[in-house]
Symmetry: C2
DNA sequence: TAGATTGTTAATCGATTAACAATC
DNA sequence: TAGATTGTTAATCGATTAACAATC
């Protein structure tokens, strides 16, 4: 399957399925129907089945879906079986917080190095990971084959960092700078400030989750 | 206008317009047409006009939009003219990073206090903001009238914190825990791990920004 | 006035939801 | 077999895009 391009809307739901199935498995649930899953996740049963069938038929008619099978399939679709080497550019607040955050390890994302221009930071270690000068970024990626580059630098530096990362052969970019960077490799823009601004809007216009 | 409910898709674009217009103003641009704006933001000109007309006619036929007028209108729609008092629950990596981050101040979001269960943290200051025991959360909100509550705690504590915040009269919740919390006030879920997982998907399936 | 560009209605496109035959 | 639930096609709904009259 997946002859057709999978829509962004479906892709955005995949991590939610993944998280929810992890929880179900942890709770000892062995099988689940599209109906129950939809109810728990506040989705529509048809939508759940449509989503899964973008990638193949993982269920059994009359029975439902085996939680461990479905989880394994989605984990595979999301490509979460391997290890990803992550480099972080910008060892300020966000960069340091990400370097300390253990939550990504369990999905295979390991921070291997940080980069900064600040000479006071260069040479130090953050949570056991070295902080290198940003001039070494390109060489480091080429020599060590980093998979994901995190941009936790100021807005004005973001695009140049993205260019250098892509040029050096990074696999993908996770951008925390408040600007949309463009690259020849996949980019995920985080835009945290957009998120709190949307909250401000919703508060002013009293939009409550149902 | 805004007789009809504004769709989530439009709301999500509002912070992008806001950011882009701030930049245009900083660059000294005085007026802009929907066509140019659409081109710069990689949107469609009709879409830009439709979006703005959810809230009223801010343009002049034959002329376009005055950047400062449009900016002021959108800032107002987003309710970014006032000040928001922000409390952060969880003074770990994320909580501390947010307390240090200066970027939100310019949009009117000021962190006033952090809360944690860890006795080693309670009583300290982070970037000049006090860390209080989480037991004091409810009383603090009631007495000081916090507007936004940030949940930067572990997954298992998130929903209870949300309940307490809402009960104590918080205006809105910004949730960084990897679980969808439900509340009687507006909630923005951040789900950072979903974002990096989507990146993993896109890398595996070679989806590049055009 | 003529030219440009909005505001707004209509057409298209895509995503969600419903329906149901296939089948475990 | 009968009941349940999927996989998949069809219908609906909403968002995006196109078209164009209004008007600055």
């Amino acid at each position: 399957m997946q002859s057709e391009r999978v829509s962004e809307a479906v892709i955005r739901r995949l991590p939610r399925y993944y998280r929810h199935l992890l929880q179900l498995k942890a709770d000892g649930v062995e099988r689940i129907s599209s109906g129950s899953l939809a109810q728990q996740m506040r989705l529509n049963a048809s939508q759940v089945r449509q989503d899964f069938n973008c990638f193949g038929g993982f269920g059994q008619q009359g029975y439902g879906y085996k939680v461990d099978v479905l989880l394994a399939e989605i984990k595979n679709i999301l490509s979460l079986n391997g290890k990803y080497k992550v480099v972080i550019v910008g060892a300020g607040n966000i960069g340091q917080a990400l370097a300390h955050f253990e939550g990504f390890e369990k999905d295979g994302f390991s921070v291997v190095a940080l980069f900064d221009v600040d000479e006071k930071l260069v040479g130090q270690e953050i949570n056991g990971k070295p902080v290198l000068h940003v001039d070494k970024l390109d060489a480091y990626i080429r020599e060590n084959g980093a998979d994901i580059g995190v941009i936790a630098a100021r807005r004005s530096a973001a695009q140049e960092i993205a260019d250098r990362m892509a040029q050096a052969g990074i696999g993908g970019i996770w951008n925390f700078a408040p600007v949309d960077v463009v690259a020849s490799v996949p980019v995920e823009q985080v835009h945290m400030s957009d998120s709190i601004i949307c909250l401000s809007y919703k508060m002013a216009h009293k939009e409550t989750a149902e």
